[in-house]
């Protein structure tokens, strides 16, 4: 178990979609920006793998939560921008509340000994 003591950059299943939607709350963005924003706001704990970002973007576009258009980036390059749709906004609200519930529930189960247990292993 080599990664045991490293900050685990792997994301929980399903959370990437939510975070992508959350990122798009503050405005349209292309893939590179989305990845950067997630990484920076998580203080570089979460590393967005490109192998999952693009399939995720296409998947949520397919579900109608985001729409896409070709525009030019800050550096004047052609890039595909994603925009949160009304359905996406609703989905985000749902996912956030579900996430809160889940986080709280997991927190309750783990209690305060979380840090000790982590250290003791």
């Amino acid at each position: 178990m080599s990664r045991k003591n490293q900050p685990d950059g792997e994301m929980l299943k399903g959370t990437l979609d939510m975070m992508v939607l959350r990122t798009l709350m503050s405005g349209d963005a292309h893939g590179h920006t989305i990845a950067k924003v997630i990484e920076r706001t998580s203080e570089d704990v979460l590393e967005v793998e490109q192998g999952s970002l693009y399939p995720a973007l296409h998947r949520i576009e397919d579900r109608g939560w985001v729409s896409s258009y070709w525009g030019s980036s800050e550096n004047n390059r052609k890039a595909k921008f994603y925009r949160l749709t009304a359905a996406g906004r609703k989905q985000l609200v749902r996912e956030v509340s579900r996430w809160r519930q889940m986080a709280r529930a997991i927190g309750l189960v783990m209690g305060d000994e979380l840090a000790e247990a982590g250290a003791g292993e």
């Binding site: 292309h30 192998g51 693009y54 397919d62 980036s73 052609k78 595909k80």
Partner: protein, 879 residues
């Protein structure tokens, strides 16, 4: 999973590629701004992103429907494989097309005739009710379903309550004469009781059907069927309400029957009321059977109950008429069975035959596929070694056979459209009430057939080539492998079944052909070469009385006999071979009366002019022929057939004795001659026959003129018709045929099934021999090194030839024995269709065995000979 994405995945991939480029460009720009060199920035960006291909593949997979994708790939792969060997593919597809096409055609006909409901209201409740004679000796001659006497029908209808209604129809024909110089025409007609159409649930397309008040002896209403309405009256609906002339009498057209109405057969042109043209006495008969009764069962009454009521009435009639042929009982069959009664048996037989053909086609294809899979053995071994699932490998091969079946099925459907059309034309007995065409069920059937054949022909080869032995192919040397041995065994087994099925088909074909040949060469008992026949019927209105009738008939005979090239001319009612002309019972005044309740003597009746027997070369056995003196006003005379003499005058001389014939009034006819038997129908035994002199002038509507000529009889048809037109330009003629044609027509359906089964059998024989050839060629290639060793060790070419021949002939022999056994076991299937031919006819069995062995030896000789020509040095070097 979404279809939209599935079909747009190529575009999505393009988009993604651009997105990735954009991402990397951004990353490079960022890296550069952080102070990296251009090259390092690029390198880092690439490292950060990782493999673009992996991303693209994962998105591609996400957009794919795996099953469809796999199938598309398999199909593409199979198509490429098939295209690489176009010869094989064409043959395989052609064989499947033939087999599927033939099966589809037959199924279309069967579906239309036996399975599709009749186009009537609630057709399941419709029955035909017949009189039923209990005497078993009568039953063998078809009297178990005897047509009904009108008196019985009216009593049944009045006195029983199990049926909603009962209707009757009878045969009739008319001369239709034109109003404005149109050609006269002889019409096939039916008389139908007024309630027939409401009972069937048929409404007139234009106008109406009969009313009860029109169904009287003087009724002059007429219904036209759609075919004559379109053909003769140009589809002009103003004909309704107008008059047409039938036999010179005016009839008022009250309606046109719909196009879909072709009951009881498509030849019927007009319908008149049942009672029209009859006398009140005619309608009271209990012993004259010329009505057909259709009944509709009440919804809450069981068939047995309804029939027993009718049976009770009939038994009473029987008791009241003990001296007349009045049946004791009744019998029924459903209307659809009744219509299909002549075709069910041949249809079932043909279905069996076509099923055999299909099986052989599938086995043949399976055999070819096994051979092909041998060539791909290495590929399959390597793939399974690399971890390919067995299911995937099997699916791939099944797709190949499915592709063959699908292409074959598509071609087969096209083929079957043409074949069905031909079959319907050639099969004259097919009832037409339902209309014969393909429908949704047939289409479903074809789809099922395609998948079944694909499975049947593809599964076995696929299973065998991907089985446990598959990987062994990698381990073994190239010479012989366990896989190829089991494959050879499989091919031999397939071949054995194929040959056995072929033998069954060949035997059926042989038996049917022999039976047909027996029918064909049956002596009808009269001259059949160079005889032309022409039918006509003198309308009673114009020819009222014996004098006028005789004047016409004698004048015509004189004119025809005087024509050059005419050897002789005969005039009769129904000619030998042309069918049953009706029969009647009689008593013999010189004999003790037959006790009540015992079947009365009866005989078929015919009419003949004085020259009839000599013209048709029917030998006189004793007494004399009719003379011109045997006519109205002279003593009544009659000639009987040998069969009648033997049956009713055993050991005595019938000449001078009398027959008292029921239908001919209370007159005794003196027997003046005995003639040899003739057959009324080829394939049926001769029945007792009595001949009345045609010159007695009794009205007998339908007459047939038979003319024996020196050369091609058909060339005389126009000159003879001209002679008739000279005597009466308004008189239409019918059935201008040669005697040979009349007999061929009555054998048409026997010849059709014999020809079809023979065709199927020949095709199977060809397929089987191709299979045999293929297997042995394959074996030869497989055993080349072995044969090389044998020859190097001193085996003679002769011995090698025998070895290989024996190898190929063994499955043929097993198949032959199996097939002969199976045929003997299913003999009862063909038995009822055979005429004077035993289902285990040794000559046919021997001929089939000889044919099969001959073909098998032929098919094996080439590969075996090739094996014997192998150069041992060459063979050993190939190792």
């Amino acid at each position: 999973m979404s279809w939209r994405r599935f079909f747009r995945r190529r575009r999505a991939d393009g988009d993604l590629l651009e997105e990735i480029e954009a991402y990397i460009a951004e990353e490079i720009a960022e890296n550069v701004s952080r102070g990296m060199s251009e090259a390092e920035a690029k390198r880092q960006a690439r490292i950060k992103f990782g493999s673009a291909t992996v991303v693209r593949e994962s998105l591609w997979r996400q957009n794919t429907i795996p099953l469809v994708d796999n199938l598309v790939r398999d199909f593409r792969y199979a198509a490429r494989t098939l295209l690489r060997t176009p010869g094989f593919s064409l043959i395989a597809i052609g064989v499947m097309a033939l087999c599927i096409g033939a099966t589809t055609s037959l199924f279309t006909v069967m579906r239309s005739v036996l399975l599709r409901p009749l186009p009537f209201r609630d057709p399941d409740k419709l029955l035909m009710v017949y009189e039923h004679f209990r005497d078993p000796s009568l039953n063998t001659q078809g009297f178990n379903y005897n047509s009904v006497a009108p008196g019985d029908y009216y009593d049944w209808r009045a006195q029983t309550h199990g049926f909603e209604d009962m209707a009757a129809w009878r045969y009739w024909q008319f001369n239709l004469t034109g109003e404005r110089e149109e050609l006269p025409e002889l019409l096939t007609a039916r008389g139908g009781s007024w309630n027939l159409f409401p009972l069937l649930g048929v409404h007139a397309a234009i106008g109406r059907t009969f009313t009860e008040s029109e169904d009287q002896t003087d009724g002059t209403a007429v219904l036209l069927t759609w075919s004559i309405f379109e053909r003769r009256f140009g589809g002009d609906s103003s004909i309704v309400g107008r008059q047409i002339h039938l036999d010179g009498k005016p009839f008022t057209v009250v309606g046109i029957l719909p196009k879909s109405f072709t009951y009881p057969d498509a030849k019927v042109q007009v319908w008149v009321p049942f009672r029209s043209g009859l006398t009140p006495e005619n309608l009271q008969y209990h012993d004259h059977h010329w009505s057909w009764v259709v009944a509709r069962l009440k919804p809450d009454v069981s068939l047995a109950n309804a029939l027993s009521q009718v049976g009770a009435v009939q038994y009473r009639e029987h008791l009241q008429n003990l001296h007349a042929p009045v049946a004791e009982d009744v019998a029924s069959r459903t209307l659809s069975d009744d219509l299909a009664k002549h075709v069910k048996k041949p249809m079932v037989l043909l279905l069996w035959a076509v099923g055999c053909l299909l099986l052989i086609g599938c086995l043949n294809l399976a055999n070819l596929l096994v051979a092909r899979s041998a060539a791909r053995q290495r590929e399959i071994a390597i793939r399974s070694a690399l971890g390919a699932w067995r299911m995937t490998l099997i699916r791939e091969q099944l797709v190949e056979s499915l592709l063959i079946s699908l292409s074959g099925g598509a071609a087969g459907v096209l083929l079957s459209i043409a074949a069905t059309k031909w079959l319907v034309g050639a099969w004259t007995d097919l009832p037409s009430a339902q209309g014969i065409h393909a429908d949704g069920t047939v289409l479903l059937f074809v789809c099922a057939l395609v998948f079944a054949t694909a499975l049947l022909s593809g599964l076995l080869p696929a299973m065998s080539s991907t089985g446990k032995g598959a990987i062994a192919a990698l381990q073994a040397s190239s010479r012989t492998t366990a896989g190829s041995q089991s494959r050879t065994a499989m091919r031999k087994t397939l071949l054995t079944i194929e040959i056995a099925t072929t033998v069954v088909l060949l035997l059926a074909a042989g038996l049917l052909l022999k039976s047909f040949w027996r029918l064909r060469t049956t002596d009808a008992g009269c001259a059949t070469d160079n005889v032309l026949t022409i039918g006509y019927s003198l309308p009673t209105k114009k020819y009222d009385g014996p004098v006028k009738v005789n004047a016409f008939n004698e004048a015509l005979l004189d004119r025809v006999r005087a024509m050059p090239g005419v050897r002789a001319a005969a005039l009769g009612s129904v000619l030998p071979g042309a069918g049953f002309g009706g029969d009647d019972d009689f008593t013999i005044p010189e004999h003790q009366p037959v006790p009540a309740g015992v079947t009365q003597p009866y005989a078929q009746y015919r009419r003949a002019d004085p020259g009839y027997f000599s013209a048709l070369q029917i030998p006189l056995l004793s007494g004399r022929f009719f003379t011109t003196g045997d006519r109205a006003g002279h003593p009544k005379t009659i000639i009987v057939s040998r069969q009648l003499e033997q049956q009713y005058f055993p050991g005595e001389n019938p000449l001078g004795k009398h027959l008292h014939v029921g239908a001919m009034g209370s007159v005794d006819y003196e027997i003046v001659g005995v003639v040899a038997d003739t057959l009324h129908q080829v394939g049926q035994p001769a029945v007792p026959t009595m001949y009345f002199p045609i010159l007695d002038g009794e009205s007998d509507k339908a007459l047939t003129l038979a003319v024996r000529t020196v050369s091609d009889p058909l060339s005389f048809s126009i000159p003879i018709q001209k002679q008739i037109a000279v005597l009466d330009p308004e008189l239409p003629v019918s059935d201008v045929l040669t005697m040979q044609q009349i007999i061929a027509r009555s054998l048409g359906n026997a010849s059709l099934s014999a020809t079809l089964v023979l065709g199927f059998a020949m095709l199977s024989l060809m397929l089987a021999s191709v299979g045999l050839y293929g297997v042995l060629s394959y074996l030869t290639t497989q055993r080349t090194p072995e044969i090389g060793v044998r020859m190097a060790l001193g085996a003679e070419r002769q011995q090698v030839l025998c070895l290989m021949l024996g190898d190929g002939l063994r499955p043929a022999l097993y198949g032959l024995v199996l097939g002969l056994g199976a045929s003997a076991g299913t003999a009862h299937l063909t038995q009822s269709m055979l005429y004077e031919t035993k289902p285990l006819d040794p000559a046919i069995f021997a001929a089939v065995a000889a044919t099969l062995l001959g073909v098998a030896v032929l098919a094996c000789t080439i590969p075996a000979w090739r094996a014997s020509r192998i150069d041992p040095m060459q063979a050993l070097r190939t190792e």
